[in-house]
């Protein structure tokens, strides 16, 4: 067992820290809350220059060939600075499955432009039922000659407002089981696709989408017909752990803000951080954070190694979802009234952490999966 970072990982973290400190101050995060797209093309270009967009893609397709563990380390830093934009949806939700399951032409078509910053993508998965299981996928894909016609609705689709292409999860066979689900790669401007931004508390960019007789050619299929679920399962595992990594970064920021505030804020003639009640709140935050960091690293490492990780992923997201909510609540409590003002940065973190808590399964969802894995 070995807990050191590799030299490459250390370099990645260092450059991430200095880049994000420079390019992603909270003023930028706030400005992007008001921005229709939610990010700037200039920033996106810089991310491409840093080599981050293709970090985990194979070198043959313009990537840096690093593994999923390194990607989660980068995501943790991005969470720390609340980097706005479609990085997660493009890289984790669409890029990774294409890199792992795409055909050779698909990889050549999508991965290099993604790595270069010229192509944005997302995964249209959840529907108004808001489920992450096979039964949640009811958008219909019906065979029409050499193509399929997509009909149905998607909800909570991240960054669909800026995505050039969508990976759409659809039913090619009726039912609620894992058989008969197929993934299609569709241009977002295809005829019959409509998209509307949702008003969200976290000011992230989620959309409602409807598909009306949208033509999906057979060669746009990701994976085999009816065989989309195993690909989605893998994406969902990666996405859950990637979210955990972001949340660990967010929690680290919230704890850091709290410690620094408590060290400066004086009441009764002493910094409040010298009071045991506040100290124990902070200690509890640290315990939750270190637990989240440890279990997230374990799950990310297993996914990167290609080992079975169902149980570890469920441990990680189940724990981190609860832990980071507790951390946010204690951060607010220790900050007192200033912490719930808009002008103070804490709320930027707690709103996003809450959205992440439920993304790709909340703790109830993942505890159920742990229970199944335990054979109970």
């Amino acid at each position: 067992m070995e807990f050191n970072l590799s030299e490459t990982q250390q370099l990645l973290l260092n450059s991430a820290r200095s880049f994000l400190e420079q390019e992603c101050p909270s003023t930028f995060v706030r400005a992007m809350e008001e921005d229709e797209r939610g990010f700037t093309p200039e920033l996106w270009e810089r991310l491409a220059e840093m080599g981050w967009l293709g970090l985990a893609f194979p070198e043959a397709y313009g990537g840096a060939g690093q593994d999923f563990l390194s990607l989660t380390m980068l995501l943790e830093r991005m969470g720390r600075f609340l980097l706005p934009g479609p990085f997660f949806s493009t890289v984790v939700l669409a890029g990774l499955p294409i890199a792992e399951h795409g055909t050779e032409p698909q990889k050549r078509q999508f991965l290099p432009p993604m790595a270069d910053g010229e192509l944005l993508m997302t995964l249209a998965l959840t529907e108004p039922s808001a489920r992450y299981d096979p039964g949640g996928i009811q958008l219909q894909a019906s065979r029409e000659g050499d193509q399929y016609l997509l009909n149905g609705a998607k909800l909570f689709v991240p960054n669909a407002n800026v995505a050039d292409h969508l990976v759409v999860a659809a039913r090619t066979q009726e039912g609620t089981g894992s058989e008969g689900i197929t993934l299609f790669i569709v241009p977002s401007n295809a005829h019959g696709v409509s998209q509307r931004l949702l008003w969200t508390v976290a000011s992230d960019r989620q959309s409602e989408m409807t598909f009306h007789n949208v033509q999906a050619p057979r060669d746009g299929m990701l994976g085999e017909v009816h065989q989309g679920w195993p690909i989605l399962e893998r994406v969902l595992q990666q996405a859950a752990v990637a979210k955990c990594a972001e949340m660990v970064g967010q929690a680290e920021a919230m704890l850091g803000m709290t410690v620094s505030y408590a060290s400066q804020r004086v009441q009764f003639g002493h910094p409040i951080g010298s009071f045991q009640a506040i100290q124990h709140h902070c200690a509890n935050m640290a315990i939750d954070l270190e637990g989240a960091r440890a279990i997230t690293s374990l799950a990310a490492w297993r996914l990167a190694q290609g080992l079975h990780a169902e149980r570890e992923v469920a441990y990680a997201k189940g724990w981190t979802s609860d832990a980071v909510r507790r951390i946010a609540a204690l951060a607010h409590q220790c900050h007192g009234a200033i912490g719930f003002t808009r002008e103070y940065d804490l709320q930027l973190y707690s709103r996003r952490a809450k959205a992440n808590e439920v993304a790709f399964g909340d703790s109830d969802f993942h505890r159920e999966r742990v229970a199944l894995a335990l054979g109970i």
Binding site: M1, E2, F3, N4, L5, S6, Q9, L69, L255, V259, A262, S263, H270, P271, G273, S274, F275, Q276, I278, Q279, H280, C282, A283, N284, A286, I287, E290, G291, A294, I295, S297, L298, W301, R302, E312, A314, Y315, G318, W319, D364, R367, E368, V370, A371, L374, G375, I376
Partner: protein, 394 residues
């Protein structure tokens, strides 16, 4: 980052598990219940002799002090071994002799190393940690036991409590005040005391969950100066470093894991309020799943602490995190057991209706000590806040 055991560690794990299974006393059913009963202590002493003969009481120690070379010199070896022992519920005596040995390797004089390490590696003595006093618990630095220099000896007076001296311990490592005119952390020394010395009286206090804790009275007890560990008046930090090295949370995680597995099996048999097996109850399922999650976190964090210590990093903050979490997880597991058996939790071990020979209730009542002994959870949270996070001291 690599969460896998090295091939050497994996091989040692297997070897240790095989050897322990082969060397468990016949009919061994585990030590939950009353690990400190005279019968269990006897079994544990026998087992320790076998471990010593195998060289496994000095895992990770340098060869010249009775340690092994090769893969067992890995600092991880001890924790790997502790994990295996805990998951097999082997009758190991947790008397801090290994952390004490490691402390002597770091702080002891050459003479002390030659006198004590070999004997510790051979399992010659049972040790008792003599830190706490009736008047000095969490505020350990307020301890009142004194050691006064007289010629070649220290003369010790005072009393020590919450220890394991009563199980027939041979030796104690004791904190005593050697100076009164210095800041209080500065006037404390660490001494090795023969518990058969004249002037020592040992008694025991029964605990609510079964088992006992020892009380040691010291009346003009003479200890050779050669038994002073480290410098005079500088024992405080050595004693705390020794605490950091105490049983890692990896072993605690393994113990919780074993108990949890037993509870899952129990929950499939015991009927719940609706007559169906209690483990199929959704609330119970989620409790078990949550506990399993926390056990795994504890295990990973524990290995991280061991790795940090092996690399020479200070892991006080991380060790405190493990201590707090480890206590909470065990208490949580114990509570789940009680929630499973409902009315039966009130049955004494002697009662024939008691499930698992009363072990569930016994675990629950003895688990109260977890968040108190070896540093209360509150003290550990203070450490996390001040040393880990750098908050100002109150």
């Amino acid at each position: 980052m690599d969460f896998q055991f090295t091939p050497e560690q994996a091989a040692f794990r297997e070897e240790a598990a095989r050897w322990i299974k082969e060397n468990l006393p016949p009919g061994w059913e585990g030590q939950e219940g009353d690990p400190e009963s005279p019968e269990n202590i006897q079994v544990a002493r026998e087992f320790r002799k076998r471990l010593a003969a195998k060289g496994w009481l000095a895992l990770g120690w340098p060869k010249e002090y009775g340690g092994s070379t090769g893969r067992n010199a890995d600092p991880m070896a001890q924790v790997v071994f502790d994990e295996v022992c805990a998951s097999l519920d082997a009758p190991v005596l947790d008397d801090s002799s290994q952390p004490l040995g490691e402390t002597l390797i770091t702080y002891g004089t050459e003479q002390q190393k030659s006198v004590w390490l070999k004997g510790i590696a051979e399992g010659r003595w049972l040790w008792a940690q003599l830190y706490s006093e009736p008047g000095a618990g969490s505020d350990l630095a307020s301890l009142q036991t004194t050691a006064v220099e007289e010629g070649d000896e220290f003369v010790i007076n005072g009393s020590k409590t919450w220890n394991s001296a009563y199980i027939g311990a041979d030796m104690g490592f004791l904190l005593a005040r050697t100076s009164t005119d210095t800041p209080r952390h500065r006037g404390i020394s660490l001494l090795l005391v023969d518990l058969k010395s004249p002037g020592i009286q040992v008694s025991k206090l029964p605990l609510m969950g079964g088992g006992h804790r020892g009380l040691v009275y010291l009346d003009n007890v003479r200890v050779p100066k050669a038994n002073l560990v480290g410098e005079r008046d500088r024992g405080w930090s050595i004693a705390l470093a020794l605490l950091d090295r105490e049983r890692s949370s990896v072993a605690q995680a393994a113990r919780c894991q074993r108990l949890l597995e037993r509870l899952i099996a129990l929950g499939k048999e015991v009927p719940g309020p609706d007559g169906r097996p209690v483990a199929s109850n959704p609330v119970m399922r989620h409790r078990l799943a949550q506990a399993a999650t926390e056990v795994e976190i504890l295990r990973v964090l524990g290995y991280q602490v061991t790795w940090m210590q092996g690399q020479g990093y200070i892991a006080t903050n991380e060790a405190s995190i493990c201590k707090v979490l480890g206590a909470e997880v065990l208490q949580k597991v114990a509570l789940i057991g009680m929630q499973m058996i409902g009315l039966y939790q009130n049955l004494d071990a002697k009662e024939r209706w008691a499930p698992l020979r009363g072990q569930v209730a016994s675990l629950y009542w003895s688990a109260f000590t977890e968040s108190v002994s070896g540093g209360t959870s509150e003290i550990n949270r203070n450490i996390i806040a001040t040393r880990g996070l750098g908050l100002p001291r109150g």
